[in-house]
């Protein structure tokens, strides 16, 4: 049996034996994991079948066809970033411990990377981890953390050697968010909502067995996470006209009294660009020979972020005086889907973050220029210097 048939057979068996419309979602996802369908390219026993990543789409199609849940939306950081990082850099024992509850959504995950003083220059982060016996003691502040207040585990990047240049002194950990010394506070954003959190770490302790990769090797581990993040954020819909552009086309149909030839051409240009990016995503997917996301993810992220902004700028122009109104600035937890996808004025405000979150457009253009086109890097004032000697502020 070829791999494709194997995946299809396994998927059909799971949905037949555990009808996703009646079985509780965690129970269903546990069966899905046991059958190796959560991440088909993972090894057997760890939620995969050891086959090409491209076959995941087949499994997901069968899952959705049977009315099953979308595991990604139940645990976006867990599925989009943590799973691949734990698999690639953790021991098999750690993966066996962490992946099953991640896959079912029992354990929600979050990511503790950015800090108030380390955004684009992530490798300059200051949160420290100091070894004490067989535990690490962590102190610092993290920011822009989605799901932190619901998360059981976090991916944490911390500095273990301030005497090394910035990239070399980092180590990567899995942090138990229920541990003493971990405090989560909501961070209110311009939409009025609090989608993200700040996380304060005060003498929080991590067993050394929850380290991913070698001490000092945290930057390389973080790259696994970030490449997966960019492809997860940038992976736009494969359906023509879906996504943000659908909002603009729908409002266009709803506001005929505000049509002008200039707006019409603007919308046609936006639609065309969305279609060009959709086709580019398809092309990258179909010609991908390796299993891990490559730099195309950076193109997708760059384009979809700017396109989203332009689409919602267009929507605001189209609706005219109504663009000056807003619904409700009451602070809310914005994780519920309907809140996140609120009225168009809120979508406009939310889109301003798209070119900042998950890699600013400026950083992404550096990546395209340097990693795809091979252009030389910029001068760096901190190159080779011990981290503690680099000016901060």
């Amino acid at each position: 049996m070829d791999d494709r048939a194997r995946v299809e057979k396994a998927a059909h068996e799971v949905v037949e034996e555990h009808d996703p419309r009646s079985v509780p979602v965690r129970e269903f996802l546990a069966a899905w994991f046991a059958a190796g369908l959560t991440w088909v390219h993972f090894p057997e026993g760890l939620g995969g079948l050891g086959v090409s990543r491209g076959l995941q789409a087949r499994a997901n199609a069968i899952l959705q066809g049977a009315g099953g849940p979308n595991p990604f939306f139940l645990n976006p950081i867990g599925h989009g970033m943590a799973a691949a990082t734990v698999l690639e850099h953790g021991s098999r024992e750690l993966a066996q411990e962490l992946l099953p509850p991640l896959a079912t959504g029992e354990h929600i995950w979050c990511q503790l990377f950015s800090e108030p003083g380390a955004g684009s220059d992530l490798a300059g982060l200051a949160t420290s981890a100091v070894l004490d016996g067989d535990e690490w003691v962590v102190n610092g502040q993290k920011v822009w953390t989605s799901f932190a207040h619901r998360a059981r585990y976090a991916l944490l990047l911390a500095r273990t050697d301030p005497d090394q240049p910035k990239h070399k002194g980092l180590t990567y950990f899995v942090l138990d968010m229920h541990a003493p010394g971990v405090e989560t506070r909501p961070l209110r954003q311009m939409t009025g909502q609090a989608e993200f959190n700040e996380v304060y770490l005060t003498d929080a302790r991590i067993p050394d067995t929850h380290r991913l990769g070698a001490v000092g090797n945290g930057w390389r581990v973080a790259m696994t996470t970030l490449m997966n993040e960019r492809s997860a954020i940038g992976g736009s819909s494969s359906v023509r006209g879906a996504g943000a552009i659908a909002d603009a086309v729908e409002l266009w149909a709803r506001y005929p009294q505000r049509h002008t030839p200039v707006l019409r051409d603007k919308l046609a240009a936006l639609w065309t660009r969305a279609e060009a990016q959709r086709l580019t995503d398809e092309r990258a997917r179909r010609s991908a020979t390796s299993g891990s996301p490559g730099p195309e993810g950076s193109i997708a992220k760059l384009v979809s972020a700017e396109l989203n902004q332009h689409v919602y700028e267009f929507c605001m122009e189209l609706i005219g005086p109504e663009a000056t109104l807003y619904g409700d600035y009451t602070q809310r937890d914005a994780e519920r889907n309907e809140d996140y996808r609120g009225p168009v004025q809120q979508r406009f405000l939310r889109s301003r973050a798209n070119t900042i979150e998950g890699g600013t457009s400026e950083v992404l253009r550096n990546i395209l220029g340097e990693r795809i086109l091979g252009l030389p890097g910029d001068l760096r004032a901190d190159a080779g210097k011990p981290w503690k000697e680099v000016p901060r502020g």
């Binding site: 729908e250 092309r283 400026e362 252009l375 890097g377």
Partner: protein
Amino acid sequence: MADAVTEFVLTPEQQDLRRAVRRFCAERLGEDTVRRLAESGTGHDPALWARLGGELGVLGLAVPEELGGAGGGLVDQAVVAEEFGAALVPGPVLGTVGLAVPALVALAGAGLDEDLLASLVEGARTAAFAVPDRGGRFDPALVTVTETGGALTGEVRHVVDGTADVLLVAARTGEEIGLFLTDGGERIPLSTLDRTRRQATVRFSATPARALAVGAGAEQAITAALRVGGALLAAEQVGGAQRMLDRTVAYAGTRLQFGRPIGSFQAVKHRCADMLVLVEHARSTAFHAAWALQDGTDDPDLAVAVAQATCSQAYQQVAQESVQLHGGIGFTWEHAAHLYLKRAVTDAALLGSAAEHRERIAQLVLDGASASGGVRVATG
């Protein structure tokens, strides 16, 4: 119909084809040759054209074997068009390969002169397409040439490759439009912006011509040719844009100012990154159009409009950025940047501008849109 999974994946044969054409162009159609031909009277070399058709055999890849072609698909021809665009191959690429040959293929079985098609595919003869278009689409109202008693009268302006051996001419015959074949007519060469892509005004006064098709058959062949021409032109734009991007990146990596390669400055690097995105989008839309026409996997009208709207803008923008990023040398006659810029401007204007194609896209996707979705508008 191809499996959707295979779209965008070139076969090993198509990759070999690309390499063969690239090697031929590098050896036989280098910049010196292109410049020499650009400054010559006719703008192309019939002997070289015959080698492209004969020795290399790349002028009729999508023509069925029984009509004298290679029996391949449009994607094969698009691969060649891309390489021709990268090398700025002079000669009747658009008139013959892009438009006349597809029109004749569409007319297959309708009193077609198969020797003519075979000789065009071999590169032994050349043809041009004297059919006016509006935004890359056929509009019978634009046809002013008339046919009576087997002879044409009237004028067609801006005929790309209009000095070719034979012309396919749209003409009014009674109440209908017909497609006619003639080797006559007065050809008045125009002084073109891009000297590697020539045009002529053609004038007919009782010029003998043979009817190839009349009525619906003629209009279908014209529409088919304009679609194929649009897709191949888009592929050509991809090739030119990619070549300009490559040259610009190479220059930015080696040109030193302030003691550093200029490509290390973000002001330069970010413009290169934006050029990369333009080229990637152009490639995706152009090859999607070729696949859609070849396999019937998408609305051909929309696929070609998206490709043309995207590629016309992309190539022109990339060529202009290339001039800018090369600095002073990029404005000289000696540097190749202007050759590509002129081709980019020309290609953008031919078979419909980006704006005209966006208008078509608007007709197809906006005019019939319904307000059924869920996006709310806060009303205070």
